[in-house]
Symmetry: C2
Subunit: 366 residues, 2 copies
């Protein structure tokens, strides 16, 4: 075998046509899986190295997009990152990953880090920007907020963002619970001083209550000094336990994220309660786990793929064409699940009891 190995060598080795090899190696779907495996195995066996000159020409070492993730333990952003890696790679850039924790001011972090690493642009994944207009104006890198928020008093021509209307989606969720007959709706909320999605979703909850003439919001805030991340199962578990210990009277729980909702469900189970027979629960985000949890969890689906794709698109428009800022607001989709029940259907105490089995209160979380 002569070196470097070409696709002709592979074709000969496998006894197939050159175009079949090319299609197999480029992952076209019209190649028989067995043939594709044979070709891939042969390419490896023979030491074939793809000709990436075209790709190389487009890439230079410093063409990078910095993606700043708010709390990477929040696996909700995985779907975003997956799409961003693809979109950024397509444009011949590299993805520089940075992580901030919940308490950090993201723009401050970005100023420091971007000055060091000089990316072509920045995508903020989640998180809040709470600088002044003056400071936002002086920030010299193209950037897009993806699923994050600026305070509402910031001039919208100063920045680019792709998100849901969190306040409106939150109103929709709360309204759905109200339509199902619930009036005593508890909210597991973020820090009372939150000025990002936590604040917007809180406002949406209050909007819906006000519209329905419900005068008694039941809110359990995440304390400011809490060290575990707000949007985590652990936090949902603790906040729900607090609410149960306070003996608040409620029939439904709206949690600000699916992770909080799952933690809340577990706390309810450990308390000997059943979802949705005793308490209905709804989350926010539309994570895959909702469909596999028991009961299937009601939620509000954020179109993550579209959000990521739009964010990359806007950013590259700014980088390549020096285009101006753009704000895109997408719609969420309410997913009913099994964790919310209509309150007007009376369920007998006996049925409720049978569902409380197998929730050994001794098995508390560590």
């Amino acid at each position: 075998m002569s070196y470097p190995v070409t696709i002709k060598d592979i074709a000969k080795f496998c006894n197939v046509g050159v175009s079949t090899v090319s299609r197999a190696l480029n992952k076209h779907s019209d190649v028989n899986p067995n043939t594709r495996n044979k070709i891939t195995a042969a390419a490896i066996e023979l030491g074939y190295i793809p000709n990436n000159n075209a790709r190389n020409l487009r890439k230079t070492a410093n063409k990078s997009i910095m993606v700043i993730v708010k709390g990477i333990r929040n696996s909700f952003f995985n779907r975003f990152i997956h799409v961003l890696v693809e979109e950024i790679d397509k444009k011949g850039y590299s993805l520089l990953l940075e992580v901030t924790d919940e308490t950090k001011n993201d723009l401050q972090f970005a100023i420091t880090t971007a000055n060091e690493k000089k990316p072509a642009g920045i995508i903020f994944l989640g998180g809040n920007i709470f600088h002044s207009e003056k400071e936002i104006k002086s920030f010299q890198f193209p950037f897009v907020l993806c699923s994050g928020q600026m305070p509402s008093d910031i001039d919208k021509s100063l920045y680019s963002a792709v998100s849901l209307d969190d306040r409106e989606e939150s109103r929709k969720i709360t309204n759905y619970l109200i339509q199902m007959g619930h009036k005593k709706i508890a909210l597991l909320a973020a820090d009372i001083n939150d000025i990002g999605v936590g604040k917007l979703r809180l406002e949406g909850y209050l909007d819906a209550l006000t519209q329905a003439g419900i005068k008694t919001p039941i809110i359990n805030y995440t304390p400011n000094e809490e060290t575990i991340p707000t949007f985590s199962m652990e936090n949902g578990y603790i906040r729900m336990k607090e609410l149960l210990e306070k003996k608040h009277d409620f029939t439904a729980v709206y949690a600000l994220s699916d992770t909080i909702a799952i933690g809340a469900c577990r706390a309810l189970f450990d308390h000997g309660l059943c979802v949705p027979v005793d308490v209905s629960v709804i989350g926010f985000d539309g994570r895959d786990i909702c469909n596999y949890y028991s009961p299937r969890l009601a939620t509000l689906i954020q179109p993550a793929d579209d959000m990521a794709r739009n964010s990359a698109e806007i950013l590259f428009e700014q980088i390549e064409q020096q285009s101006s800022h753009k704000i895109i607001t997408l719609n969420g989709i309410l997913e009913y699940g099994e964790s919310v029940r209509p309150l007007y259907n009376k369920i007998s105490k006996a049925t409720s009891q049978t569902q409380k089995l197998n929730k050994n209160p001794k098995n508390k979380l560590k």
Copy 2:
């Protein structure tokens, strides 16, 4: 206010000592949260920019570590990435994120991408390397396999790796089920041709069965042509449904990952079965969700933080001191959960029935 703003200015503004400001901005835990918030707010308000000269000196644009993640939708790697970002940042390097899909040959991908981007080193997160010794020797970048595998016939002095002994841990899991009285143990396995962790965990399962004199393995492989990721809830759901439709006789299911186990549980519920009353289920990985699922899921905990930290450490030793390769094998921890029951305890049919409520078979996955 003179520019640039210093921590003295902030101290004066907040009426606290300079050391308090310094400790607050460096996130020391001995500062009162209210004071810390006041100081942080003042720092932002005054436009304070931290002095990062020391950091800058250490950093240059091209000092990067490439992290190649096998299937980033697999959120199991989040915990690893979180630690890697920290460790890499500490050393003054940037983290370049790359993603490969399940079908790609990771080393082939790394050769192409590393030649373009010239990282100082590479961490493979998950995945399989199945090149020849000759090819591994000719790979010019320092690298570490974190939670990934090389075929056992590759000379161990040729590479660095941090992982569990997947075969042994898998044997432990299967043995635990056997100790609980189970003899009919189904395995939800990877592709039959898998040569990475899928193969090793399969071997461990077979080892345990052989040791216990159990002659009838029940294995449902993920088909080679399956397009959804092997280690996903969706795959677990489909593979479990197949097994149920084949009417195999089993009392326990061992799934190769927690995601597969969760998908399997959901399929069991949709089939009107109860975990663990009708079928015991155990996973592998030790994800957070196990503790919040209902029932709490038995699993084998991989020490993700230690694995990531060790990987970074070995890689930097290679980069900075040109040290030789190192293989580190860590131990997993068996977590009993609630999803496995001892088979010798007879549970009456009546009890089992009551636990089947609320599993509406019409609510199938979309």
